[in-house]
């Protein structure tokens, strides 16, 4: 055969093979995988965009806003489009390092979904980004609702804050996506589902640089559902007054509630922090600094701090004794001479009271009377009644992270100190010292037993809640007897500084010894005595005597509140003004 013909055939066959190869791969791409690539091309141009729903507002009992939303600008990145230069540029503008941005981006598996990397950027940053937007591929700026707390640190513990969701939380609940905010602490955490609302989705057509061309009409957008508002029982004005009354003290907490229905008026803890900081993505270091600060500003003392309750426990020891019918009101023990000897130990009283009956022992808060009373009725009698009114267990308030305190009983003592625990422990328990621990809220709740004739409401923060009561089995007579004594505490005893003119006030002072410094000053009281509208529990850390520090503050609080609810003219001015602006943007 001619050499040329062989070469011709070789090249012709090569040509044929290549032709078949190209047609087969075209068929594979366009027919076999055509649907997939068509879908990809649609995903390419159609971008799902999430629109954050504004969170519900939180109102106080007089419809003042405790938490609302304002518009803020966010920056988001589309992984599939962004390049390294744009990343570097945006990280410079925002002052974030590229590594952090990349980590955030990595959380989103779909590279075509915009991932928010910065929230609530400053106007300066916004201006720089807008100016350079043509060079920043895959970077978007948008408006989103930003949580706003107008009353900064006086309500931070109660209301809580919102923080960016973590990857683990998204895994647990797939209704969240990266860059979403979730309620943390307080009402924000407890009522997350109620407040959150649901994000909307809109479908937009974009070009290769991720820039919006227009909306897609074929795909129906999912509208946002605004979060529902939350109407609380909190009294903002009273809380502000409390903050003012406590302004000279570093660490304190205060609980005010309506003892008849358990509505919480004030839940205040000091020191606080600015929850607005969390709205624009708190840096790790800042968070650490807040969390590790020695005075623990993140800590809600009103429900999380456990204090020895001091003499405020005495009314419950008396209540137990009377209820068990082991003593009458006229019962007297060895007179108080300032100290009491038990074996080799000496137990002291803060004053020499001489001989007292039960009522006067409460009124003048005589330790030596109660040492003997406690020993006389026995630990089991005390503990069973104390537990009945709420010591040692959570009150069931509707915000998370509440502590239960500690009510030591026989079993606890045996476990802690072995068989050798002594009467000395009962002595300490009888005056609220030693191992007994309560939270301010718990202490306030236990006192409703006197204010509300044995019916103890579950404290709560939401208006119109069906209140559930715990009715104690303690006899009414016993309660009334101790209540009379509490009246005496304020009218003529240790708590006279809590008195209000023309109003009967019941209360009890407490001075809690503690290993961290000066005594904590405690006062729990309610007024008016026969139709209690407010029950106040004030604990000022390391401030000294209960009667001299906490009692006058509690008196002022009760007076302020009672004056407000009886006055005809509206005391509160509705603060507003931002509403119009917000409606325009969202």
């Amino acid at each position: 055969m001619d050499e040329n013909v062989i070469k011709f055939k070789a090249l012709r066959n090569t040509l044929g093979i290549i032709f078949v190869l190209l047609v087969i791969s075209a068929i594979r791409l366009q027919i076999i995988q055509g649907k997939k690539y068509y879908r990809l091309s649609e995903e390419n141009r159609i971008r799902k965009r999430y629109i954050s729903a504004p969170r519900g507002k939180i109102f106080d009992r007089n419809n003042l806003e405790l938490a609302n939303t304002r518009p803020g600008f966010y920056v988001s990145v589309i992984q599939a489009v962004v390049d390294s230069n744009s990343l570097k540029e945006i990280s410079n503008i925002l002052g974030l390092d590229t590594k952090t941005i990349k980590e955030t981006m990595k959380m989103e598996k779909n590279p075509f979904i915009a991932v928010k990397i910065a929230h609530d950027i400053s106007h300066r940053q916004l201006a720089i980004i807008e100016e350079k937007i043509d060079e920043l591929n895959g970077i978007e700026v948008g408006v989103e609702p930003v949580r706003n707390y107008p009353y900064v640190d006086i309500l931070c513990h109660l209301v809580g804050y919102v923080g960016e969701i973590t990857y683990d939380e998204i895994k647990k609940d797939n209704s969240y996506s990266i860059g979403d905010y979730i309620g943390r602490m307080g009402l924000e955490e407890q009522y997350e589902k109620h407040l959150r609302g649901s994000d909307g989705i809109e479908y937009i057509e974009v070009d290769a640089r991720g820039r919006m061309i227009g909306r897609i009409s074929e795909k129906r957008p999912i509208p946002i559902t605004n979060g529902k508002d939350l109407y609380t029982t909190i009294d903002l004005a009273l809380t502000e007054s409390v903050a003012v009354y406590l302004q000279n003290y570093k660490k304190a907490s205060c609980v005010c509630l309506n003892p008849q229905n358990g509505e919480i008026l004030v839940l205040y803890s000091k020191p606080g922090y600015d929850p607005n900081l969390f709205a624009h993505g708190l840096q790790q270091q800042e968070w650490q600094r807040l969390n590790n600060a020695p005075d623990a500003p993140m800590y809600n003392r009103a429900i999380m701090s456990c204090y020895p309750c001091g003499s405020t426990f005495k009314p419950f020891v008396a209540l137990a004794a009377l209820d068990a019918n082991m003593v009458t009101n006229e019962k007297r023990f060895e007179p108080c001479r300032g100290e009491y000897r038990l074996g080799r130990r000496i137990f002291r009283c803060w004053k020499i009271h001489y001989s007292l009956d039960l009522t006067n022992a409460i009124v003048h808060s005589c330790d030596i009377y109660f040492y003997q009373l406690g020993r006389f009725i026995g630990i089991d009698t005390i503990v069973s009644r104390a537990r009945d009114v709420g010591f040692g267990k959570k009150t069931g308030i509707d915000i998370p992270h509440e502590k239960a305190g500690l009510l030591p009983d026989r079993a606890w003592f045996e476990k802690r100190y072995g068989k050798n625990w002594t009467e000395g422990h009962i002595f300490n328990l009888s005056v609220g010292q030693g191992d007994l621990l309560v939270t301010p809220l718990q202490l306030a709740t236990t006192f409703t037993v006197f204010a509300n004739d044995g019916k103890i409401p579950v404290p709560h923060l939401i208006k119109h809640t069906a209140v559930s009561y715990h009715t104690t089995s303690i006899s009414k007579e016993a309660i009334n007897l101790v209540k009379e004594a509490l009246l005496g505490v304020v009218s003529s005893g240790t708590g006279t500084l809590a008195g209000i003119r023309n109003c009967e006030v019941c209360g009890k002072t407490g001075t809690a010894q503690n290993p961290h410094g000066n005594d904590h000053s405690i006062f729990v009281g309610f007024a008016p005595a026969h139709d209690p509208q407010i029950l106040v529990c004030v604990i000022v850390e390391n401030a000294g005597h209960g009667g001299s520090i906490a009692a006058p503050i509690a008196g002022k609080i009760m007076k302020t509140y009672l004056a407000n609810i009886t006055s005809e003219t509206p005391v509160y001015q509705k603060s507003g003004g931002d509403d119009a602006l917000q409606k325009q943007v969202f």
């Binding site: 050499e3 040329n4 013909v5 070469k7 011709f8 090249l11 012709r12 040509l15 044929g16 290549i18 032709f19 190869l21 190209l22 047609v23 791969s25 075209a26 068929i27 791409l29 366009q30 027919i31 995988q33 055509g34 649907k35 997939k36 690539y37 068509y38 990809l40 091309s41 649609e42 390419n44 141009r45 390049d83 390294s84 057509e205 974009v206 070009d207 290769a208 640089r209 061309i213």
Partner: protein
């Protein structure tokens, strides 16, 4: 004038050029289409002139044309302006000498190979290798790796067509294979063993000595050179030769190109309505990736028709090469076949993700005057040859 010429060739290149114009309009708009249209008119005009020149004249002119092209390529390296240095800017239009270098080199190679009646030894292949290496090197320095590497397949096909047995060509170029294989010691050992067996059965001492020595040297020296250079230099070389390893840049192009073609399905999204190209997802839409847009807008149907046009064109050129009795003309036509064929399949294979991205334009379709002009020049010489194919 058009008597006796292969009219099929003319019809095919005109149809392909018109498809090109339509796709350029779809991807880049009116301005680009008009500009390409002007180039097309110029190309047809030049083709008319070229088709009057006989193969003998071409053969005699070849060294001068080749020399002028080399000078142009050399001068291009000293121009000031954009980087990479690939174009001479002349007012609105720009010229890409590398495209004309393909034409000139094919001409020069054909002219040289035609003078050698017997091509049997390795030394016969050295001068052709030098002829293609000089322009390839100059283009490589620009840098334009995609255009530079095209010369070597052209050389191989032309040597084959000129009469060098294929095993001989393979052994001649085998040190390159050995050097590439030496990056993995296992691959290299297997390769060298298989190659030795192959040489043994060839039963030619000269083949064995050349093949074994050159392959061993290439395989042993390459790793030494590689390890003696700095790491950043290695990285630079790797990324230069394999840009498709860069995930953010190149694979994005491949993915988008595959999405464009695949989403066209059977009949395509329709002329002017490709979403991939419209929304700028496709890179280099009117140049290197014009075929992807064709696949998106006209579907499998459009692709099969276009590929068939190309294959038919190449087949006609191949038949011409076979039937032409003039040795120079025949070898020249084989060079044109290699050039247009290789570039076509490289480009289409790239858009479908079968081959790495090399940045080679698709003949007749891609936007670019120099490429169009050079292809038309080559085909017009073929036309003249087809008119007088039986002359010696």
């Amino acid at each position: 004038m058009l008597k006796k010429v292969d009219r099929t060739l003319i019809i095919l290149i005109i149809i392909l050029s018109l498809i090109g114009l339509a796709m350029i309009y779809s991807t880049a708009g009116m301005t680009y289409m008009l500009r390409q249209g002007t180039w097309l008119a110029a190309a047809i005009f030049i083709a008319f002139i070229f088709s009057t020149i006989t193969p003998r004249i071409w053969s005699n002119l070849a060294p001068y044309i080749y020399a002028i092209t080399l000078i142009l390529l050399f001068l291009l390296l000293f121009t000031h302006g954009t980087y990479p240095k690939r174009w001479f800017k002349i007012g609105e239009f720009s010229l890409q000498p590398s495209e004309f270098a393909k034409f000139a080199t094919v001409l020069m190679l054909a002219s040289f190979l035609a003078t050698k009646k017997k091509l049997k030894t390795f030394t016969d292949m050295i001068i052709p290798l030098v002829i293609v290496t000089i322009p390839a090197l100059l283009i490589f320095i620009e840098p334009d790796l995609g255009a530079a590497q095209i010369f070597f397949p052209i050389l191989i096909i032309m040597l084959y067509w000129a009469g060098v047995p294929f095993p001989k060509i393979f052994i001649f170029f085998s040190p390159v294979v050995s050097a590439v294989a030496s990056f993995s010691i296992y691959v290299w050992v297997v390769y060298i063993a298989a190659f030795t067996v192959f040489l043994y059965f060839r039963k030619q001492l000269s083949d064995f000595i050349y093949g074994f020595v050159s392959n061993s040297l290439a395989g042993l020296v390459m790793p030494v050179i590689w390890n003696s250079i700095k790491e950043y230099q290695q990285k630079r070389i790797i990324s230069f030769f394999s840009p498709w390893l860069d995930p953010q840049g190149m694979s994005w192009q491949i993915i988008q190109s595959k999405i464009a073609i695949g989403s066209g399905k059977l009949l395509g999204k329709g002329f002017l309505s490709g979403t991939q190209k419209k929304l700028e997802f496709l890179p280099e839409r009117h140049t290197d990736f014009i075929f992807s847009c064709l696949g998106e807008e006209f579907g499998l149907l459009g692709i099969v028709v276009t590929v068939m046009l190309y294959v038919f064109l190449l087949y006609r050129i191949l038949v011409l090469a076979k039937e032409t009795k003039n040795r120079f003309a025949s070898i020249f036509v084989s060079g044109v076949l290699a050039w247009i064929g290789y570039q076509t399949f490289l480009n289409i294979g790239m858009t479908m993700g079968l081959l790495p991205i090399t940045g080679v334009p698709l003949p007749f379709l891609s936007y670019g005057g120099s490429s169009l002009l050079a292809c038309f020049m080559a085909i017009s010489v073929c036309l003249k040859i087809s008119k007088s194919k039986l002359e010696y």
